[in-house]
Structures are given as C-alpha cells and as structure tokens.
C-alpha cells in the first residue's frame, strides 16, 4: 500500500513528517555545531565516546533524507526501515545520555527522556504503518 495521506492513520499524518523534521534539525545542528556548544556540553561526552558528534549528525541527516524521500515517493517500505533505524538511533542516544547522569556532574536525570519518547513514538508509528500495509 502506498505511503500517502489516504493510506495512513491521522496520527501518522502528523508524526511521519515530524520525525523527518526532527532528524533534520538534529542532524544539521550536530554536523554544524554552531559556536561549538554541543562539543562543550558535558552531557554529550558519553555520546561522543560512542561515536563523534559529526557521525551522530550524519546518522540523523541520513534518516531525515530517507524519510523525506519515502514520503515524497510514497514508498512505505523505505519509511518502515528508516523508522526501525530511527528507533535504534534514538534508543542508543537515550542510553548514552543517561550514562552521562552517572559519569558527569550536573547532568539532569531526564536528559535521555527525549530519546526514549522519540524511540517509543517511532515504534508506535512503525506498528501503525505495518498494520496498514
């Protein structure tokens, strides 16, 4: 079934472009890192230990590109695969940020919350997309 407005749930109509936009914003910010603010953030030290911030940015840009291409070409399977990788990426992101809570001073306990939220929402969207297929 094609990936267009007539063949996705109302929730997916909102969330699918949102994931692409979120990944695009994160990707651009992490690749460009204006004023090197991210590089100096203590909460991101474990994330940098896992892989450089540029790589995180490229991962998100790749996901944003794949999702946008899937939305434009209406290929559901591409978006499903991108969502699966999105879940893994944001899940790992949440874990490495939570590691910073214990390894870095003055880091909020909720620092990994956004990663968890995006991963769980992506999982819900993935199930929705597969159920509609």
């Amino acid at each position: 079934m094609p990936l267009d407005r007539d063949h996705v749930s109302p929730a997916s109509r909102v969330m699918l472009p949102f994931y692409a936009a979120l990944n695009l914003v994160f990707g651009v910010l992490f690749v460009l890192d204006p004023q090197h603010r991210l590089d100096k953030t203590p909460a991101l030290n474990p994330a940098q230990g896992f892989m450089p911030l540029d790589s995180w940015g490229l991962l998100w840009l790749g996901l944003a590109t794949t999702m946008t291409a899937a939305l434009c070409t209406h290929v559901r399977e591409w978006y499903v695969r991108a969502l699966a990788i999105n879940i893994a990426a944001w899940g790992v992101w949440a874990v490495v940020l939570e590691i910073a809570v214990f390894s870095q001073p003055n880091v909020s306990f909720l620092v990994g919350a956004i990663g968890v939220v995006v991963a769980v929402a992506s999982y819900a969207s993935l199930r929705s997309l597969r159920a509609e297929a």
Binding site: F50, M51, D54, V80, A84, I85, V92
Partner: protein, 111 residues
C-alpha cells in the same frame, strides 16, 4: 587521529543501522509466526466446518432418497388411476353398446 574518528563513527553508525534493521526483521518474523498460527487455526475451523457439512450432506442424501421413492410411488398410483379411469370409460361405452345390441335384438325377435 581523524581517520580513527571516522572509522569509529562509521562502525557505530553501522552498528545502529544493523540493530534497527535486525529489530525490524525480528518483528517481521514474529508477525509471520502470528499470522501462521492464525491461518492454522482458521484451517482447523474450516476442516471442522467441512466435516459438519459432509455429515449434513449425507443425511440430506438419505432423506432425499426416501422422498424420491415416495414421489415415484405416487406417480405410479396416478398412472394406475388414469389407466383405471380409461378402462372404466371404455367398459361403460362397451356396456352401452351391448345394451343397445340386446335391445335391438330383443325387439326384432319379439316381432
């Protein structure tokens, strides 16, 4: 040092991508197993239904056989009644002819 960072980044991205795709495959396999179980249950239900229908069909065939024999017997009776009616008509006609002949013969003999 830069290429080491690039290598580390590439490997980490590959790890994340592989993890995501493996999770997707696992979900696909689980979905296929569930649908397989559903289809098996549905097939079992269909088999039960077919067995019930076969029993009903054999019962209906037996009843049909009985009814057919009844209908055939009724047809024979009707045919028999028709023939009886024909014979009765012919007999009455012959009787009328005989009476007429006797009367005619008696009248001639008397004069």
């Amino acid at each position: 040092m830069d290429w080491l960072n690039a290598l580390q980044g590439t490997l980490a991205v590959a790890l994340v991508v592989t993890t995501g795709l493996l999770g997707l495959q696992q979900g696909t396999v689980r979905t296929l197993r569930e649908s397989n179980s559903d289809l098996r249950a549905r097939r079992d239900d269909q088999d039960k239904y077919v067995a019930e229908v076969e029993v009903k069909l054999s019962t209906s065939n037996a009843e049909n056989e009985v009814l057919r024999s009844v209908v055939t017997g009724e047809a024979h009776l009707t045919a028999l009644a028709d023939r009886l009616e024909d014979h009765h008509t012919e007999s009455m006609s012959a009787l009328a002819d005989i009476r007429s002949a006797i009367e005619h013969h008696g009248g001639t003999h008397g004069s």
